[in-house]
Amino acid sequence: MTVAAGTGYVLLALGPSLSLFIAVISQKPFLVLTLLSSTLLWLMSLIALSEIWRAFLSFKTGLLCPYALVILTSVAFQEALRLFLWRLYKRMEQILDAFADRVSKPHLFITDRMQIALAGGMGHGVAHAVFFYVSLLTPAFGPATYYVEKCPQMPFFLVSAIVALAFVTIHTFSMVIAFSGYSEGNRMDQYFAPAVHFTAGMLTLTNLASRGCVIGIPLLYGIAIITLGYCGKMVWKRLTENRGTLH
């Protein structure tokens, strides 16, 4: 594909993340560091998964079962990692609060915590978009483009960009929901993120069927919109509850 098309595809997948980065994350250096560490952590999770599933790669079948298993185990692994990330974040929050005491600054506000969770989630989303999508683009610059036979309506790169955008949204905001759920002890929030992740992963299995992407991708966007709405509602509720106190 041409450079213009390639740039368009990248902006399609990563455009909202870029604007979120410029508006929110680049203002506070700590969030940039959180983003980078989060991206690295999820990259390591992908490498670990690829090591586990190395044997699978020799079967290049179109069957459903092995792929479903791959997705199940991968999502389970990543959700376990999210729990681990929460533990790390709790520890770091203690260190930050102790440091704030030492330099006589206030403890972290609730908005600060949510921003850190947002940066962590964006790291997850960016890691997904970059490694599943953007890294496939660059070898493909040139005069032709590529179509997948299961989904021939649009070039492969366009379909993949759309799917990547949905996943970036899901990952970014489900991290905010999950961290808020862990800190408040709200069961619904805590189970929301893994449930959404599983559902989204399973929905991509429909892409294995011929013309399955026509059903799968709009449903995926439905999930992304649900995540966005739920996150917005939860944040609004938390902020208005704590209007008097900032912690």
Partner: protein, 428 residues
């Protein structure tokens, strides 16, 4: 939100600013090298026709050799290179000991001129060729000459605007790194690992040349002339008892080159009010076919005012006395908020990080992203160690080792998995 009383600012606003100020130029340098590599080497993947330099003296790799031969050849090359670097570093220590500072400074300016003029000129010519830019020789010569002279002045003089100096240092790092990527593949990787090990030895071992240099400079209370990238210091607007004191310390160090390639090394170091530990940088340039040497190290130093330094030290002592014995708190203090000195990173670190990423770019961009994250993580770890140990530390080993590890893991494992999942539009 409440607009009558403005919300007090939390530490999240400013924490980590120092690190981001050093990560940004490193990222820019890496990005430029990746762009250069993909433009200039995208079409021709000629591994065999590399330049004849000191680094390929022992063995010239050709694609028809077996893996074992390539490995042995690469090891020989790296040994030769590291030996040359060691000799030249000891020579530098000797010159510094004999107080030939002026010679070193002039040599540094001269090698900057060579890098910017000749290497920059060659790369510009290649770019003009690729993009068919319509420009005539005279204009090109004048523009190149002006660019080079301003660059030499920027690294030489201490009164230049800091942004110009930083940009020129990044450009020098980019040019030298691009030339390193012209080496054959196995040689490059083994050379990176060898330089990381050498860096570790030279800075931490008692007899290491860089450690000698640092101790010499400290005992004489002089600055080592070197090419060092200095991040802009942070002015803390709140709470320093002496007011916002800006303390800038830069190194001025020059190193002489002989007619050989030299290795580049640098240590990161963060400034502390008065007991600064100088970091040394060695610069090495890769010779072109003419075997010219490029020296790239320069720093600038401003003497801090002793009266102004006093409240800063006081502030630091107060902060230290109030701190608990928790090691974590100390780590945070060193990196982010309390120190008003700037973090310095030698140009050699820029160069070798960019060489690693540039080499990864020659394979595929997935390795580029993975190696970039690994190198930044390594840099972060080094900065944390710097805050904990407070002495000159080698910046290469952790990043290079992580970078090489992630390159291998991505190339061998991740790529196959992700490409297969992604081609079937299976994502999670």
């Amino acid at each position: 939100m409440d607009h009558q009383n403005p919300r007090p600012r939390t530490i999240l606003e400013t924490l980590g600013e120092e690190i981001v100020r050093i990560i940004t130029p490193v990222s820019i340098c890496m990005l430029l090298v990746v762009i250069l590599v993909s433009i200039l080497r995208g079409d021709s993947s000629s591994e065999g026709s590399s330049i004849t330099t000191m680094a390929t003296m022992a063995y010239t790799e050709s694609s028809s050799d077996s893996m074992w031969d390539k490995l042995k050849g690469a090891l020989l090359n790296s040994l030769v290179f590291v030996a040359v670097v060691t000799v030249v570093t000891f020579l530098l220590v000797l010159l510094f000991y004999l107080r030939c500072i002026n010679f070193l400074k002039y040599y540094m300016g001269f090698s900057t001129f060579l890098v910017l003029g000749f290497m920059g000129g060659e790369i510009s010519l290649l770019l003009i060729q690729v993009f068919s830019v319509p420009v005539d020789c005279i204009t090109f010569a004048i523009v190149l000459f002006n660019f080079t002279v301003v660059g030499v002045l920027a690294v030489f003089l201490s009164k230049m605007a800091i942004f110009i100096t930083q940009s020129y240092l990044v450009v020098i790092g980019m040019l030298v790194a691009y030339w390193f990527t012209l080496l054959p593949e196995w040689t490059t990787w083994v050379l990176l690992v060898a330089m990381a090990l050498y860096d570790l030895a030279a800075v931490l071992l008692p007899g290491g040349p860089l450690r000698l240099l640092v101790e010499l400079a400290m005992s004489r209370d002089e600055d080592i002339p070197a090419l060092v990238y200095e991040a802009r210091p942070i002015i803390s607007n709140d709470a320093a008892p002496g007011g916002g004191v800006i303390q800038r310390r830069v190194w001025r160090e020059g190193r002489g080159d002989l007619d050989e390639n030299r290795g580049l090394r640098s240590n990161t170091r963060s400034d502390i009010a008065s007991d600064s530990t100088p970091g040394t940088d060695l610069s090495v340039g890769i010779g072109e076919s003419r075997r010219t040497i490029v020296d790239a190290e320069e720093g600038r130093v401003f003497r801090t005012d002793s009266e102004l330094a006093a409240p800063l030290i006081q502030h630091r002592i107060n902060v230290r006395m109030n701190s608990s014995e928790d090691g974590d708190n100390l780590a945070l203090e060193g990196i982010g908020l309390a120190s008003s000195g700037a973090i310095k990173l030698g140009l050699g670190d820029f160069i070798f990080y960019s060489v690693l990423v540039g080499r990864a770019a020659m394979y595929d961009f997935m390795t580029v992203y993975a190696c970039y994250l690994a190198i930044i993580a390594g840099l972060g770890i080094t900065l944390v160690l710097l805050a904990v140990y407070r002495k000159a530390l080698p910046a290469l080993p952790v990043s290079i080792m992580l970078g090489v590890l992630f390159y291998l893991l991505t190339r061998l494992l991740l790529e196959v998995f992700v490409v297969q999942c992604s081609m079937n539009l299976l994502m999670f």
